[in-house]
Amino acid sequence: MAETTAAPDPVACEITLDNLLEFPEGREILTCIQCGMCAGTCPYGDVMDYPPRRIIKMLQAGLLEEVFTSDSLLNCIACYACMAKCPRGIRLTELLLPLVKEQVFVQLPEVPAELQKALENTLRYGNPMGESPRKRAQWVTTTDVPIRDLSKKPERVDVLWIPECYMSYHPRGQEAARATARVFHALEVDFGILGAREKCAGECARLVGEAGLFDKLMDDNIKQFDKYDFNRIVTSGAHAYDAFKYLYPRFGFDQIVEHTTPFVARRIEQLKPLLTKKLDYTVTYHDSCCLGRHNGFYEEPRTLLQAIPGVKLVEMAHNRVNSICCGGGGGGMWLDTFYAAKGYDRLSDRRVKEAIASGAEVLAVSCPYEVSRFEDSIKVLGYDDKMVVRDVVELLAEAMEP
């Protein structure tokens, strides 16, 4: 699981719901034994009109049109739980659900307002917050290590670092971005960023069903990548990692892609002597869906945390493959108001309660979405004085302080 080359995905981009059964990956869906493991493990399975099991049955019965007219699939936060648990190995989150969600999205009578704004912003400004694209790399001026902006100095680098939207714009994300830059610098990584030329990778757009927006972002990003000379992409976005590793290769993209956490974990021996400051924290690690269930990076973040002197690592009741999604994937990042209006539980609340029950005082994460989501939940649930959220890389940077 060290270095991963983005090999072209066997699921060709031309698979559609109409020709699904002409492909082996599609025919695999017909092997469903209707065991209901998917619906049972889905964190929103109890409130969905059409959990994955039922969608497959509707597909087999030729009644899929009915699924398209329900907004039930807006509850799918693309957490890979159903796919990880399917005893038949059906590629639900990778293949079937995105195809169905695309149809659901197109037929939605109204796109929930918060999601609509995020999608419109992403199309226009390249980030869901609607921030100025010119200010994307403004955080760089607040860091104490040199960061090369390739759009200004395009000479070859080893690592093209893509911090992604939340690290570029969200104030807490920017803290993690500064920490990442410090860790890269200490590890003598030769890296550069795209500066104002970087744009959202589009994974959430694809997994909420806005395929056209994803296509446009991917086209723009690949054009940018082609302009520069680098050996690998390292991204801090767990969703961006999935986009570059699984979605872009279907369209011919073939760069080496890594996520920051496993990338740093591979340099653990080089890192250990630098972690000199003792951090007397009890830490629990939240496995992000993309890095954990989808890519199997369970041990890398834990190895890093355990390398920090003083850190005591405890586990939540649900960890690794059983981790509960923060609720931010598949467009869920911008559907909180929609779920609240329907009276559904906020998954980040559920997760924070588990984190508190673990006895930890630090909730460590590796996906930039989680910081804002968990910090919100901690405030809402009144645990402000009991728990803080930190990116693994932030803790590493803290342990490197004199």
Binding site: V106, V111, A113, A211, L213
Partner: protein, 257 residues
């Protein structure tokens, strides 16, 4: 029912605005234009009326950077026609642009008379809300502004117009008429990017040359400056409790509590 939705581009204030070298216009180097938000509501109201009563919607705009994207988006949302007025000098004043439209629109084949002409009641560069009113004057049609609800039946439209102080007025107006839309009855709809791309492939924007000079402007911009900081704000320091106490003190001192 046939409806015209008039769209115009305004500076996108996501980027900070800078004054250009001439000292009287915006620096266009980093400026991007965006469709006026209230015009989007005008288009949405037009589409809602079409959904309800049938007929057609035509989106009309004066040529500007990125206007093709805006017009194709209108087509993808459900507009039947898109018309772009070309050969118009850049940087027209609101009044000049509106009266130019009033001169050109009647010459566009099969466009007027429309039952309703909808435009945003305001824009960031037209806070007076002149566009729709001047257009109505030029077309010699009745005008109602600050509209937040429209229904139309036969030859009259029933319009809800808002006034200061929370007062609302219900009006009946003979069609054709021009309405300045403040807000559509539903928020402007989302259109998937794939639909916009499909519209770009399958539909066309009709280009109509203005073929006329805009009327001489009665007012000219002589200078443009950024607001100067007044320095009269009093900054408070302290813990949240101390700050709250100070704010309370100031408010009661000035008789605001």
């Amino acid at each position: 029912m046939n409806i015209l939705a008039v769209l115009k581009m305004v500076p996108d204030v996501v980027e900070e605005l800078e004054v250009g070298d001439d000292g009287k216009s915006l620096d266009l180097d980093f400026l991007r234009l965006i469709v006026n938000e209230r015009d989007e509501h005008a288009l949405e109201q037009a589409l809602l009326l079409k959904d309800k009563h049938g007929g057609s919607v035509t989106a009309v705009a004066i040529d500007a950077p990125e206007i093709d994207d805006v017009l194709f988006t209108a087509l993808a949302k459900g507009a039947d026609r898109a018309v772009k007025i070309t050969d118009v000098e850049e940087g027209l004043s609101t009044r000049a642009a509106a009266s130019l439209l009033a001169q050109v629109l009647p010459k566009v084949p099969n466009l007027l008379p429309a039952d309703l002409v909808l435009a945003g009641c305001q824009a960031t560069d037209d806070l007076d809300g002149q566009t729709a009113a001047v257009l109505a004057h030029g077309l010699e049609l009745p005008y109602l502004g600050i509209v937040s609800q429209v229904d139309a039946d036969g030859s009259t439209a029933c319009v809800l117009s808002e006034f200061p102080g929370g007062v609302r007025g219900e009006f009946e107006v003979d069609m054709p008429a021009v309405l300045g839309i403040q807000a559509s009855e539903k928020p402007p709809r989302y259109v998937p990017v794939a639909k916009v791309r499909a519209a770009m492939k399958s539909q066309t924007i009709e280009e109509v040359s203005a073929g006329t000079e805009p009327e001489a402007s009665l007012a000219a911009v002589t200078g443009m400056t950024k607001p100067e900081a007044g320095g009269k704000a009093e900054m408070l320091d302290g813990s949240p409790e101390e700050l709250a106490a100070k704010v309370g003190e100031i408010l009661s001192e000035r008789g605001l509590l």
